[in-house]
């Protein structure tokens, strides 16, 4: 294994992670909900009665963070290397799979592990494994 020292940035990663943890802490202690992006977005677009407005507010906050981080420290626009067909397949699988599996990187990978939930530990292990395998296939076998 070779480490990509040029891109390895542990301090911003850790600081960003601490902020994400603060967001999860604020939502569970403040509003009693688990910070799981796929569940929050899924519930918002399904338009659950009486339970959608806070989800949309959170989504607006996520979107507003982009221009704010650009203003605060000059965050550059992200580069999407994948073509549009790949993005459609990837988005569909990520959305369907996260709902079927009751969570994604935030719900299982952060909040679930922080709750010491065996379900989330299994889910995180499985999606990490298939994500590693997918990147390996795309970059080193097919690509």
């Amino acid at each position: 294994m070779t480490i990509d020292w040029a891109n390895f940035a542990p301090l911003p990663a850790l600081a960003g992670g601490l902020l994400i943890g603060c967001a999860a802490a604020l939502l569970i202690l403040g509003a009693g909900r688990v910070l799981g992006a796929s569940g929050i977005v899924g519930g918002a677009i399904e338009g659950r009665k009486g339970d959608a407005a806070w989800r949309w507010s959170l989504i607006v906050g996520l979107i507003a963070a982009a221009p704010l981080s650009r203003a605060l420290w000059g965050a550059a626009a992200p580069v999407f290397a994948a073509g549009w067909i790949t993005l459609i397949v990837a988005g569909f699988l990520a959305g369907f799979g996260a709902r079927l599996g009751s969570g994604c990187t935030s719900g299982h990978g952060v909040c679930g592990l922080a709750r010491l939930s065996p379900r989330s530990a299994v889910a995180t292990g499985v999606f990490m494994a298939t994500a590693f395998a997918t990147v390996f296939l795309v970059r080193h076998v097919v690509g």
Partner: protein, 149 residues
């Protein structure tokens, strides 16, 4: 309305964390997922930092009956490690690995007016609504439990 205000603040902090950590950038994510190439371990620090704060918060939440705004604390109750959990996580991982984008960073990237993010998020919404349609057909009236995490 307190819940909506909290939602907005939580979304902002969450989004700023994703931007600061670099996780909003697909190449940063695929750099972490590419163990066989030049590996960038940064994302392990994102998860570690997030869990370090969230762990005591959830421990505290478990001992409290209600949240600050007075509503009950809604912690997941499902315990079974069943097929939907494993199959869903497996499918999710393939989607995540294909583009290097998971749901929250996809939504954040909409704020950078990135066309790629718009395509990803639209397809993600379609995938979520498809799951809902399938779940409702399988268990009419009840739906599969949509409990998050």
């Amino acid at each position: 309305m307190a819940r909506n205000a909290l939602g907005l603040i939580v979304g902002l902090i969450f989004g700023l964390g994703l931007c600061l950590s670099g996780m909003y950038e697909p190449a940063k994510v695929t750099g972490f997922l590419d163990l066989a190439g030049r590996w960038d371990p940064s994302l392990a620090f994102v998860m570690g930092g997030a869990i370090a704060v969230a762990l005591p918060a959830f421990a505290l939440a478990r001992r409290r009956a209600s949240a600050w705004i007075g509503v009950p604390i809604d912690l997941p109750t499902k315990r079974a490690i069943d097929a939907p959990l494993v199959v869903g996580a497996a499918i999710f991982g393939v989607g995540w690995g294909l583009a290097g984008v998971c749901p929250a960073p996809g939504v954040v990237d909409l704020g950078f007016l990135s066309p790629g993010a718009a395509i990803f998020v639209a397809a993600m919404a379609a995938g979520m609504l498809t799951w809902r349609a399938v779940a409702d057909r399988r268990l009419p009236g009840r739906g599969l439990s949509a409990q998050d995490a």
